[in-house]
């Protein structure tokens, strides 16, 4: 019994004290497998002790945004590095963000910056179709949103339920651009098609990618980072930017193809952050060209929003494809209500 008597207090003391006060607390929703090394590098170069809170695919917005909202009375987070933008705008509208005009962001296009400088966008992803090249011959690729309902893809295509992450942002974007009635009908049709077995609803973009990679589906909606992971894994896949040129399956808006949604990362300092000075240091660091270049060269293949940032050829440039013309502020303002409505549509 002597050993436990010694061991127990030692373990308890270690547990209670080991997580001592950090110099900076950062919540990161960019996947841990992509962001962890960057965070370590910042820690080493700055000499700061950083506590990083990652999220998991299953929790997404419930994890970070909900925790930030719940902590608002006594903020414990300094910086939120969000891998998308709509939830960022939600937080801004709730008054939970501190304006900061980072010098590193000077050359980031205004499209990706909040006019009040509460957040800054960088390193974007695009919504794409991941296509299994073993199952879909070249030249027969799906072309756009409405291909989900094409009988030739019945049972072979998929889109993650738009309840979390970038799929929810995408769905909210469709509401904003195409109008409520259209979007409502569209998603009802997706649900009906699922019930008839023609459209599959994977649990996440990551699983959409896995199902296509393994040949369980011919194609599915996902993000460019998920596609790139499949590509690097040697899977027989190719990427299709949806809704680019008029034709069957392509969603049109005012006579022109809709284009695909571009979703930048966004970084922001929380209001009343416990370590504001260090928070600014981190934001300055993460918005540098070097970090955007590293994100482009990384396995997540993020698309730099600054034209002159170097990138591998497979990453491409924002002008290479037609992007959906959408106001991020509109998406952010309505994403909560859309989430509720989509929950009622898809969970039944």
């Amino acid at each position: 019994m002597r050993l436990p008597r010694i061991l127990l207090p030692a373990v308890l003391v270690a547990t209670f004290s080991a997580c001592s006060e950090p110099d900076l607390v950062v919540r990161v929703s960019l996947d841990q497998v992509f962001s962890e090394e960057l965070m370590r590098d910042f820690e080493q170069s700055s000499g700061l002790k950083v506590r990083v809170q990652y999220d998991i695919e299953q929790s997404k917005t419930v994890g970070h945004v909900r925790a930030i909202i719940e902590e608002a009375g006594r903020p414990r987070t300094d910086v939120f590095w969000n891998n998308e933008i709509a939830q960022t705008i939600r937080l801004a509208e709730l008054g939970l963000l501190e304006p900061y005009d980072s010098p590193s962001a000077a050359e980031i296009p205004e499209l990706f910056r909040d006019p009040e400088r509460r957040w800054t966008g960088f390193a974007a992803r695009a919504r794409v179709l991941i296509v299994n090249t073993d199952l879909v011959p070249a030249g027969e690729d799906p072309k756009g949103t409405m291909d989900l309902f094409d009988p030739r893809w019945a049972g072979k295509c998929g889109i993650a339920r738009p309840l979390t992450g970038t799929t929810l942002t995408h769905a909210t974007g469709l509401y904003e651009v195409m109008g409520e009635d259209w979007a409502r009908e569209f998603f009802k049709r997706v649900v009906t098609s699922n019930q008839s077995g023609s459209v599959n609803l994977p649990e996440s973009n990551g699983q959409s990618m896995t199902l296509v990679k393994n040949g369980a589906l011919a194609w599915a909606w996902t993000d460019t980072d998920d596609f790139n992971v499949a590509r690097l894994q040697g899977a027989p896949v190719r990427r299709v930017y949806p809704d680019q040129e008029a034709g069957p399956g392509v969603l049109m808006k005012d006579g022109a193809p809709l284009g695909t949604l571009l979703i930048p990362n966004s970084v922001m300092i929380l209001k009343d952050a416990p370590h504001p000075e260090n928070a600014r240091r981190f934001v300055d660091w993460v918005l540098t060209r070097e970090i955007e270049a590293r994100l482009a060269a990384s396995r997540s293949a993020q698309i730099p929003v600054r034209e002159d940032v170097p990138r591998p050829a497979h990453v491409g440039r924002i002008g290479d494809f037609r992007a959906m013309n959408v106001k991020y502020s509109d998406i952010g303002a309505t994403i909560g209500a859309r989430s509720s409505e989509l929950g009622e549509t898809f969970i039944r």
Partner: protein, 630 residues
């Protein structure tokens, strides 16, 4: 067997106050703080009553019933066979039979969806049933062991084994049904599994998914809390009768006249019975674990006949590999993608796909010289000198770093390197997981002993027991957010930021399990010993820790191990708390998002090992059998 009378004389009020205070702080306070939000808008409760909600609840109940039935169908015979009969390796099978309930169901799902074409509610019920059959088996086994030998011998003399089974089934069935009701509760609270299993085909939604989804909408906190109520009500509807029945029958103490039943000889049924038990353990535990082990060695690629050796990996690669330390150069023209495509096309060609572009047998590209001599299987047809192939292999850091081809020797080498990488990258996470789980189990067990004692000996035992189960029945998100609200204040700020919060969070979530185990153990302990000690002048603490504890210490160890194991695999509430971020389970789920590779498989196995570690140590070093039930 003597039926004890109930009295509160043995329950010490100061100790009970300590236990209740601990229970209040750890378990109830987070939930009460959440319930307070309902007061702001009680109308949300009436809003819940609608066709969609009812339909979701119906599906949820059906899923629960399906899973509970499967758990009963497997667990009842399994529990009986391994505890009472001469099936081969009964003790080992019994120990292995616990494993499925300790594994995250999603791990079972990942294996099963690869092996079976079933999807949707049937597959979901099957996985949840197999995952939770140990609950039934535990109850059935203990009930079977508590049948008096004299009664059994009489039945044996009358009509052989058939008569014994006919006599014993009604005695075991109520306990087994109790276990299956717990399986029901586990099943109705799971939403990730139905979502995962119905990714292909018609979506299968359950009510727990609605609870999770509602939390995403802000300004709607009252509704988010209210959505948890139907599940709590369902749990209460199932658990309360179970607790009442348990209090009645479980209160029976095995007295000095009890004779332990002998091992039943199965005769010609021994082989089929052994095969049945082996099949159950294989399907529920060995197959998922074996599959992970197989994949940690490179899986089918190692035996595919394609041979590639890899080199130049940085810090683990795979899901573990993040990004280069310096910016990559801008590539133009026939850049990386083309080279990768060429290499991939060649690899597919070698495994029977499209024809290879440049056949040149017997060569392994991208090989580090030191490893080129390693045994290899049939070679693929690619020119290693081709610059595009070399560039592709260096640039396309695949998620799975295991060698292709090479058969068993390569498999063994891959396993070793995958575990080395997993350990290297996740050592700290594993240590944190162990530390948090150790702290939670150590904090919960003494409290559980006090509460369990009050439940077994006190006047309102069933009510208290029901209250202790609430945190387990509440959604993890609800409990996690309640903990933030409870602890994130200036006065408790340091604690909130420390690992202490994680310990408290885990202990609060799983105190119920420890308390249930302890309450059962106390009920089976002869109260006359406590009464004698009281008459001899022993105080409450001495009676509890000096008289009772030595008598039920195997159950206390069981409750400690149960809390430990559940804490290692906890994720739902932990994901909200900053200090709980760096656990091994967290890392597994982050990595698995991008598909399983050798690293993820190795890390998953390390987590499984961590979950099973205390049980394994007990099995190795203790001669006493661990008790989860009295």
């Amino acid at each position: 067997m003597a039926k004890p009378h109930r009295s509160t004389a043995l329950v010490s009020r100061p100790l009970l106050a300590v236990g209740l205070l601990g229970f209040l702080v750890l378990c109830l306070a987070p939930l009460l703080l959440m319930a307070e939000r309902l007061a702001g808008d009680p109308s949300v409760i009436t809003d819940l009553v609608g066709g969609r909600t009812l339909l979701l609840l119906l599906w949820t109940v059906l899923l629960g019933l399906g899973a509970a039935s499967i758990a009963l169908a497997i667990g009842l015979p399994f529990g009986f066979l391994v505890s009472r009969t001469d099936v081969l390796g009964a003790r080992l099978l019994r120990a292995l039979g616990i494993v499925p309930i300790l594994l995250p169901p999603i791990m079972l799902a990942m294996t099963w969806t690869m092996l079976l074409p079933l999807r949707g509610p049937v597959m979901c019920a099957l996985i949840l049933g197999v995952s939770s059959f140990p609950l039934v088996a535990l109850f059935a086994a203990r009930a079977a062991e508590r049948i008096d030998a004299r009664r059994e011998e009489a039945a044996l003399l009358t009509g052989g084994l058939g008569s014994v089974l006919a006599m014993e089934l009604p005695l075991i069935l109520p306990s087994a049904l109790g276990g299956s009701l717990l399986a029901f509760v586990v099943a109705i609270n799971d939403f990730a599994l139905p979502d995962y299993v119905s990714s292909v085909g018609r979506k299968f939604n359950v009510y727990a998914g609605e609870v999770f989804s509602t939390w995403q909408v802000d300004g709607n906190e009252a509704r988010a809390v209210a959505t948890a109520l139907p599940l709590l009500a369902l749990t209460a509807a199932v658990v309360l009768p179970l607790l009442r029945a348990r209090a009645r029958s479980g209160g029976v103490t095995i007295d000095s006249t009890f004779q332990h039943p002998r091992t039943l000889k199965l005769g010609r049924w021994r082989a089929p019975a052994t095969l049945f038990c082996l099949a159950v353990v294989t399907v529920g535990a060995l197959l998922p674990i074996g599959r992970l082990a197989y994949e940690s060695g490179g899986g089918s690629r190692v035996f595919s006949g394609v041979s590639i050796r890899r080199d130049g990996w940085t810090q683990g690669g795979g899901a573990a590999q993040n990004m280069g330390a310096t910016p990559a150069p801008t590539l133009t023209g026939a850049g990386i993608t083309d080279a990768v495509s060429a290499a991939q096309a060649a690899a597919r060609a070698a495994s029977g796909g499209a024809p290879a572009s440049s056949p040149s047998p017997g060569i392994s590209p991208g090989i580090s010289p030191a490893r080129a001599a390693a045994p290899q299987g049939r070679q693929r047809s690619v020119d290693p000198a081709a610059p595009e192939v070399e560039a592709a292999l260096k640039a396309s850091a695949t998620d799975d770093l295991s060698d292709f081809g090479g058969g068993l020797p390569a498999f063994a080498s891959n396993v070793a390197s995958a575990f080395a990488r997993a350990l290297d990258l996740s050592r700290e996470s594993l240590l944190w997981s162990l530390l948090f789980a150790f702290g939670a189990a150590t904090l919960a067990t003494p409290l559980a002993l006090i509460l369990g004692h009050a439940i077994a000996r006190g006047r309102r035992g069933v009510t208290l027991e029901f209250l202790t189960i609430l945190p387990l029945a509440a959604p993890g998100t609800l409990f996690g957010i309640g903990s933030i609200v409870l602890w994130n204040h200036d006065a408790t700020g340091s604690f909130y930021d420390s690992g202490g919060l994680v310990v408290v969070l885990f202990a609060g979530r799983f105190l119920a399990v420890a308390t249930l185990i302890c309450a059962g153990a106390v009920r089976s302990f002869d109260r006359r010993l406590e009464e004698s000690a009281e008459l001899a002048g022993a105080g409450p603490a001495r009676r509890l820790f000096g008289i009772l504890t030595p008598g039920i210490w195997t159950s206390l160890a069981g409750s400690w191990i149960a809390v430990f194991a559940l804490s290692v695999r906890e994720l739902d509430a932990a994901v909200l708390v900053p200090a709980a971020n760096d656990t091994a389970m967290f890392r597994v789920f982050n990595a698995v998002h991008f598909g399983r590779d050798d690293f993820v498989s190795a890390l998953s196995l390390l987590v499984v090992f961590a979950i099973l570690l205390p049980g394994l140590l007990w099995t190795l070093f203790s001669r006493r059998r661990l008790r989860f039930l009295p």
